[in-house]
């Protein structure tokens, strides 16, 4: 079991090396990358925006009640913004991304494998790593931070809605505390770097699972499940490591 897990991680790492080597060649397929940014990014916007809004609202509600115990409701904006930018935004976006875009990447590549489309590309002298895998990988790295930013913006909006419009917190206090407590580089950009890494990891796992899936419908189904499970675990584990180093 352990040996199998290690072998998977090792194979995944080698796959990453192959992708990175194929990246220069995939620049010829820029149009394909653009298409993939649309599929993994733009198509995930709806779920990201809705979830961002609700996460922001529930944060506003929960933290307002907790902070009111200490008489610190003025800090609501700061606390919401910091928890969103540093943790919840990148992590929840990555988890949603794994479920929404990761699974479809795995299923798509897995079916291409099962229906010989990858072999057909090989035979047409088109490298599937450069044409299929690398554009999706790039798209994930590009799309994830942008999705996380949209998530955060909607989250702030949701928290403002609950804290200011419903619970009656002063709007000026909400914003001025946030602006004095949040820093661009240590908070906002920290989250952006994190989500870029999550984007790379999630799409790496999704493409790897799809690319190496046994070419049967059962194999594709398992690979899709593994994508979600492994992406979630990897996201949270890497989040801890990165937080420990970036703090």
């Amino acid at each position: 079991m352990l040996a199998k897990g290690l072998a998977q991680i090792g194979a995944c790492g080698l796959f990453l090396v192959q992708i990175l080597r194929a990246l220069p060649r995939s620049l010829r397929y820029l149009r394909e990358t653009v298409r993939q940014v649309f599929f993994v990014g733009a198509m995930s916007l709806t779920i990201i925006m809705i979830c961002g809004l609700f996460v922001g609202m529930v944060l506003g509600l929960q933290l307002y009640h907790t902070l009111s115990i200490f008489g610190g409701t003025a800090a609501l904006g700061t606390v919401v913004a910091l928890s969103l930018y540093r943790e919840l935004g990148p992590v929840v976006t990555a988890l949603l991304f794994a479920g929404r875009a990761g699974t479809s990447i795995t299923a798509e590549i897995g079916l291409m494998r099962a229906t010989d489309q990858l072999d057909a590309m090989e035979m047409m002298a088109v490298d599937p790593l450069a044409y299929v895998v690398a554009p999706r990988f790039l798209a994930g790295v590009i799309a994830m931070p942008l999705l996380a930013c949209v998530f955060n913006a909607l989250g702030i909006f949701g928290a403002h809605l609950v804290g200011v419009n419903w619970l009656g917190l002063d709007s000026g206090t909400f914003w001025s505390n946030m602006t004095s407590g949040v820093d661009v580089w240590t908070d906002v950009m920290n989250g952006v770097w994190k989500s870029a890494v999550f984007g790379a990891v999630c799409t790496l796992i999704a493409t790897f699972q799809g690319y190496t899936t046994p070419p049967t419908s059962e194999g594709v189904a398992y690979a899709t499940t593994r994508t979600v499970v492994f992406s979630s675990i990897a996201t949270l584990a890497i989040d801890f490591v990165m937080t420990a180093f970036l703090m």
Partner: protein, 294 residues
Amino acid sequence: MRAFPAVRGSGKVADPDESDSMNVATGQQDEILIRIRGLHTVLNGKTIFDGVDLDIPRGRVTGIMGPSGTGKTTLLRHITGQLAPDAGEILVAGKSVWKLDREALFELREKIGYLFQNSALLTDFSVFENVAFPLRQHMKLPEELVRNIVFTKLQAVGLRGAAQLMPSELSGGMIRRVALARAIVRDPMLIIYDEPFVGLDPIALNQIVKLIRTLNDTLRVTAILVAHEFSAVRRVADHIHLLAGGKIVADGAPETLARGATPWTRQFFSGEADGPVPFHYPAPDYARQLGLSA
């Protein structure tokens, strides 16, 4: 290059530098395009090839037949450099496939049209884009020219009207024909048909047979045809190799083979259930396994 076709001796391996334009050249019927020597392959502990020697002449349709599971598709994967054999040499147009680097291998594959068993159309492109795919990937052609080439090929397979459909909207026979159009879109020197007749109704099957024959008659393209429907293969193939038990067990023109008297050909072409290809998968003694013998 057409200037000195007669210089080449028959049976001689083609000069790699001059092989490019040979697909339309005539008068070299006996020249060997693919030469396989001493091929040995073991897959998952099962011996697939046990010393296969095979020559595929230029400009002809060569049929490779054999019972299921004898490694016909594996042989094609060896020839196209998708799967490495354990031993043996494979020369395609004078180049040893397994000594080529990736660039050279891709260069070789650009000259090969491959019709996959399940057609392998790219599902998120339309029929037109599928056929245009090899052109777009390897040549910077003006859109006008791409259109003309693609429509010419689609016309040849009778599907010009279906150009804007998606693969999911086509029937099995039409998909096969689109895949055929894609395989020939760059006028390859070699076309490989992997089980082109499987799962087709008689009409679609006859359409494919006709297309393969027409292609060879008009363009003199070298073709390898892997199939096990003898009735269809005998109508297109110039020469048939029968593969069984890891070896070439018989070869010859279709009519000679059909009359042939070796146990292999008799069993295969008349479809007997038992014979040199055993009905039973290797197993321990039946009585012992049932616990009947003392």
